[in-house]
């Protein structure tokens, strides 16, 4: 089965409808600044992403990309500025409130539950965005979420490892699990933080195929150092430098821009 066939009940079609009909943007940052003491990790960032849009976030180390993501998910509150998710002002919302509204995130260094199995990890991801989080009753054999978790595990090719403790997975498998967690429930917008880091070439092409085959209503921003992966899956690019937005445009425009080449690509086109 492919990701496009991923059943997620009526909530997906609702999200699809919402995503295409709503006049708002999926993610909108206005004038967001984050100060750590005297250091401005990001300054005055204004960013709009439409529903279903695939954007790449590029920039050198320290440009502020991960801080941007952290503000987006709610790991910390921005010093100034507003953040809107599907038209709703979520600036002061804690992370779990944003997630329940369709936002998802993967992490540069996999954040997984080491003491639990792959199946448990994915089950938790499915549970987190549905009701019954505090249920004291064990799920039955034909529980909807258990089935959905199994399908997700299948979609990222981890079924043989479903009962392995996460601590015992290989690095590549952990990265795949990381993606599966982000796809649980009915995601509407995903923040991928360097998903290709440390992957082998085969694993990379698999990642690209997963990303390009995501259902059309799911938009995302992908931070990546691997330009190959980033420019293949993205339809638009935002470049950051020193905490500010430096350039925005299509992949071709960015690749051929002289300033970008000098700063980031080190002169000449990327092979």
């Amino acid at each position: 089965m492919t990701l496009a066939d991923m059943p997620s009940a009526t909530s997906r079609t609702a999200a699809e409808r919402l995503g295409s009909v709503s006049s708002g943007n999926a993610l909108e940052l206005r004038g967001v600044t984050k100060l750590f003491g005297a250091l401005a990790a990001i300054s005055d960032v204004t960013l709009t992403v439409r529903p279903g849009e695939r954007r790449a976030g590029l920039g050198t180390n320290g440009a502020g990309k991960t801080t941007l993501f952290n503000c987006g998910t709610g790991d910390f509150l921005p010093t100034t500025g507003t953040i809107r998710l599907f038209g709703e002002d979520v600036t002061s919302f804690p992370a779990h409130e944003r997630i329940r509204r369709g936002l998802r995130r993967t992490y540069q260094i996999s954040l997984l539950f080491g003491g639990l199995s792959v199946a448990d990890n994915v089950y938790l991801a499915c549970r987190g965005v549905s009701r019954g989080r505090f249920s004291l009753l064990r799920p039955r054999v034909n529980d909807v979420l258990v089935t959905r978790a199994a399908e997700l595990i299948e979609a990222v090719h981890l079924t043989p490892a479903r009962d392995t403790l996460v601590a015992n997975l290989s690095y590549g498998q952990q990265r795949q699990l990381e993606i599966a967690l982000a796809l649980a429930g009915a995601p509407r917008f995903i923040l991928f933080d360097e998903p290709a880091a440390g992957l082998s070439p085969t694993e990379r092409s698999e990642l690209v195929s997963i990303l390009t085959n995501l259902p059309g209503h799911i938009g995302f921003i992908i931070i990546e150092h691997d330009m190959d992966v980033a420019l293949r899956v993205a339809e638009s690019v935002t470049m950051m430098h020193n905490g500010r937005i430096f350039k925005e445009g299509t992949p071709q425009e960015i690749e051929n821009d002289a300033e970008v080449q000098e700063l980031y690509l080190g002169g000449g086109s990327h092979g």
Binding site: A95, V129, R133
Partner: protein
């Protein structure tokens, strides 16, 4: 490796086949115990073990599954005991309200669970290492308060003659009935913890333990889960507390003094806080030490009062060499036995 749920497929093994034989043997011995054990062993050793084990289990739930080492469990237990004395009958008729058992017992548990939840609400919004401090401080405050307050808690003396109700015509404080009562409660508490550990709530709690940031990013309210974990643990501790007060027929500030609070931590850690059976193992060791070490100490020429020293040293040794407690030692032993198999032929030297 058990799953969150049994997968469909060929008939999954029945309960009878899944439980290892050692457990069945232990269960049989425990059920048949009154046939061959003395009243002292039934009441004082096993009764006390089950009770302390339950309160330790409450700590284990929070620490092992939730990553929160809370020292408030004994206080919650004592509060439940105090409520039974205040709302039921005791030797202090000026304060006790004399409510019937089917009213005062549930209310006592409710009050204790509420208290535990409130403490949780105060303790969970800070980093893990503060939890010990905050819960210890609140536990101390409770001790000093009950000692000073005469209107409700009867101060230094506390309540005596707090006895279990005579249900079904049985005096539940007799050794054999009390043994079965505590055995049943302990088994229920143990089963509840084992079951809930794999429920959505329990799994989520373990997720919160392993990676609270990720749990938030998956849509869980980390704070709410932690606080509700305190509620669940407090119910178990409350049951233990009521049984404890019935066993000694009295409750006083000393029931939840700092040494007693620390003892529960010792019990849970020595037994092993990673699995629910750990606190019961720890409780048995503790009770045996408490009961028999004065004799051992006298034999060696020391005063019988030095058992605290023995317990303290034992605790230090365990934390030093096997932080996972006795269970940890058992795991290491099993691992080494598995390793000593001949890699080629699979048998042991």
């Amino acid at each position: 490796m058990t799953y969150a749920v049994r997968t469909s497929g060929p008939a999954s093994p029945m309960l009878f086949e899944r439980v290892p034989p050692l457990w069945w043997a232990i269960a049989l011995v425990l059920i048949a115990m009154p046939l061959f054990a003395s009243n002292f062993v039934l009441f004082q050793i096993f009764g006390w073990t089950f009770i302390l084990g339950m309160i330790g289990l409450s700590l284990m739930f929070l620490a092992g599954y939730g990553g929160m080492v809370s020292l408030i469990q004994m206080t919650v237990a004592a509060l439940a005991g105090y409520m039974v004395a205040i709302l039921g009958t005791s030797g202090v008729p000026a304060i006790s309200l004399g409510w019937p058992w089917w009213l005062h017992i549930p209310v006592a548990i409710l009050v204790a669970a509420l208290f535990g939840t409130l403490v949780g609400a105060l303790a969970v919004r800070t980093e893990g290492i503060y939890t010990i401090m905050i819960t210890l401080a609140i536990a101390s405050a409770f001790f000093y308060f009950t000692r000073q307050n005469y209107g409700l808690f009867n101060g230094y003396t506390g309540f005596n003659n707090v006895l279990p109700p005579q249900l079904f015509g049985i005096d539940w404080r007799q050794p054999a009935p009390f043994y079965y009562l505590t055995l049943a409660c302990a088994t229920l508490a143990y089963a509840a913890v084992v079951y809930v550990a794999r429920s959505p709530f329990g799994l989520a709690l373990q997720g919160v333990r392993d990676n609270p940031r990720r749990m938030g990013a998956l849509g869980f309210s980390v704070t709410a889960h932690r606080i509700l974990a305190y509620t669940f643990a407090s119910v178990i501790a409350a049951f233990g507390g009521i049984l404890l007060v019935w066993q000694s027929a009295q409750v006083s500030p000393g029931t939840a003094g700092i040494p007693q609070v620390i003892d529960i931590l010792v019990i849970a850690v020595v037994g092993g806080i990673k699995r629910p059976v750990g606190p019961f193992i720890g409780a048995l060791i503790y009770v045996l030490l408490r009961v028999f070490s004065p004799d051992v100490l006298l034999a060696v020429g020391l005063s019988g009062e030095r058992f605290k020293l023995l317990i303290g040293f034992g605790f230090l040794v365990i934390v030093f060499f096997s932080p996972d407690g006795v269970l940890g030692l058992w795991e290491k032993f099993k691992a080494r036995r598995a390793q000593s198999r001949d890699p080629l032929r699979g048998d042991r030297p």
